[in-house]
């Protein structure tokens, strides 16, 4: 299986993992960011 010219799953998997991590941060923000604690003061 080739991913933009890269065949080793351990290499293209790293790119996929980076995109997945960005999506995870976005999902976390959407889910928790709006319900999180407001200002302390």
């Amino acid at each position: 299986m080739s991913f933009f010219g890269i065949t080793d799953i351990w290499i293209w998997g790293a790119y996929v993992a980076c995109f997945a991590c960005t999506a995870l941060c976005l999902a976390y923000y959407i889910y928790f960011g709006r319900r999180g604690e407001g200002p302390d003061e």
Binding site: F4, G5, I6, T7, D8, W10, I11, A14, Y15, A17, C18, C21, T22, L24, C25, L26, Y28, Y29, F32, G33, R34, G36, E37, G38, P39, D40
Partner: protein, 548 residues
């Protein structure tokens, strides 16, 4: 024009505008720094954009762009896993698991620095002093490596090597002044500005690299094909290397170096960076941290991903153009592969001079943003944490000093020490110095930090056991076993005549953090399970700041 083809007047004009804005933001910080709390944490109202970009640009120095970018040219795209770890551990875990709790506890305990927070969590003057001492002893090495690396690159690329001392001292003075007078406000706003410049510079570089090499699939395919040609002499890799688009053979020397030093050593270390921890404490609320997380992750993905991808692909360019791999063609060393590649690529395109100057400015920004944050942390560790440990009030009780002046003086004194280090350190050590500092703080402090944040009643004896075991085992492995770290203080060579104890074994490629962090955790668990439980003193956050 320099040997590398840099238009000095153009770069000088861009640098002059940049320095002017830096000074203006320094003045803004100075006007808004009314007391010591403002100096250390700002007004605790930093917005998500400033926190994320400040965190990202502090996290990523010249080390990430030219140090590890150059390593990607040698070791290939396997280094992209470090990009993932930087994002997952350095941003997601750091903000979601450590950041929020640190912000809340820091506020409840009225802590102003990382050392202050640990000391108050454990109600221990000793832990606070030790943490401050680690910062004061180890962080200047990291800071000097970043400063030296940035100035070296700038001087060589611009051809101004005869002005090396002036550039070094000039940069140190500018950073020293805006950190000492503008405090954390000036540091964070300047970091955000520098992050935007870095983001623009690295985005352009990635796009131009792929366009020059014929597109994403063609460029990656060409890099894969390079290894199958099997005609290369010097690659700079260890046995087990299997090409720039393949992961090295499991358990080989190359695999050990890649996984233990580059991936885990640096990846885990991000969690206990004192200069990053204060970013959480400066946030207005949890929502700000959540928003910072997504901005920070994107920033790190673009900067680190671009540097590592470009570094690996530079081999295709150098082979096409000069018939040599990057490691062979760039004789100045690994740290000069990325600058050489970029200057060569941009020399043939329209407006190339502007992009080259933008890249140089990005390098300058990467160096300054990290150094300023480190200097602020070192200065407060000396002027606030250490000074507070022996300062007493009229009744002889220990009190936290609240003198901005002392923090400013200690920042300037420590900056002089960093400049002296720059002249004493060996060359080509940016990536290694980064790994050393991050590994040391992780092994010594990560278990104690996590336990202090999440335990209802943090145990001081468990923290001390973890800190002692982590520090001692790290120092032993770093000085006597690991080849990469023993160069900093060659005690083993003085005693045995060899750089490390086991010269013919693969263990010399195993990073100290892989050995000492599990031992540090184990020591803490053993004390927690078998140690005698102290009298219940309650949750430190509920009890408020400790009187010590």
């Amino acid at each position: 024009m320099s040997d590398f083809g840099v238009q000095i007047p153009l770069f000088a004009a861009m640098a002059a505008v940049f320095i002017a804005v830096t000074i203006l933001l320094g003045l803004y910080g100075y006007r808004n720094t009314k007391n010591n709390q403002d100096f250390m944490l700002g007004r605790k109202k930093s917005n998500a954009f400033v926190i994320a970009l400040s965190y990202g640009s502090t996290f990523l120095s010249t080390s990430a762009i030219i140090g590890f970018g150059g390593q990607a040219a040698i070791h290939g795209m396997s280094l992209l896993w470090l990009c993932f770890l930087n994002m997952f551990i350095g941003v997601f875990v750091a903000f979601a698991i450590f950041g929020k709790r640190t912000r809340r506890l820091g506020r409840a305990l009225k802590a102003s620095t990382f050392a202050d927070l640990l000391g108050k969590l454990y109600r221990s003057k000793g832990i606070r002093t030790f943490t401050a001492a680690v910062i004061i002893v180890m962080m200047p090495i990291y800071c000097a490596a970043v400063l030296k690396g940035g100035v070296n690159s700038l001087a060589v690329i611009t051809g101004l090597t005869q002005y090396y001392d002036i550039i070094l001292l000039g940069l140190a003075v500018i950073i020293g002044l805006y950190v000492a007078y503008g405090g954390i406000i000036a540091v964070m706003y300047n970091d955000a500005l520098q992050a935007v410049i870095m983001f623009c510079g690295m985005s352009v570089i990635l796009i131009v690299t792929y366009v020059t090499l014929g597109g994403v699939t063609a460029a990656n395919g060409a890099l894969s094909d390079l290894w199958s040609q099997n005609v290369w002499g010097y690659t700079g890799t260890l046995p087990g290397f299997d090409g720039w688009t393949s992961f090295s053979d499991f358990g080989s020397d190359e695999w050990l170096l890649m996984v233990t030093t580059f991936l885990l050593g640096v990846g885990i270390g991000a969690l206990t960076q004192p200069q990053l921890v204060v970013r959480y404490m400066s946030a207005k609320d949890d929502r700000t941290l959540d928003k910072s997380m997504i901005i920070g992750a994107l920033f790190i993905f673009v900067i680190v991903g671009a540097a590592y991808t470009t570094g690996a692909l530079s081999n295709v360019y150098f082979v096409d153009r000069y018939g040599m791999l990057a490691a062979e063609y760039v004789s100045l060393g690994v740290d000069f592969i990325i600058p050489t590649f970029i200057l060569d690529v941009f020399s043939g395109i329209s407006f190339g001079d502007i992009f080259v100057s933008l890249f140089l400015l990005s390098l300058l920004c990467a160096a300054i943003s990290t150094i300023s944050a480190l200097m602020h942390t070192i200065g407060t560790a000396a002027g606030y944490d250490l000074y507070s440990t022996w300062r007493k009030d009229r009744k002889g009780r220990a009190v936290d000093t609240q003198s901005v002046r002392i923090n400013r003086i200690s920042t300037m004194v420590m900056l002089v020490l960093v400049v002296v280090y720059c002249y004493l350190m060996p060359s080509d050590i940016i990536a290694k110095a980064t790994a050393l500092f991050m590994g040391m703080t992780a092994t010594a402090l990560l278990p104690a930090y996590a336990h202090g944040l999440y335990s209802k009643r943090p145990r001081q004896d468990a923290a001390v056991a973890s800190i002692v075991v982590g520090t001692l085992t790290y120092m032993f492995w770093a000085l006597f076993v690991c080849k990469g770290t023993s160069i900093f203080l060659p005690i083993c060579k003085w005693i045995t005549g060899n750089p490390v104890l086991f010269m013919d074994s693969s263990v010399m490629y195993v990073d100290p953090v892989i050995v000492s962090l599990p031992l540090s955790v184990l020591a803490m668990l053993l004390v927690l399970v078998f140690g005698r439980k102290p009298a219940d003193t309650g949750d430190p956050a509920e009890a408020g700041p400790a009187s010590e």
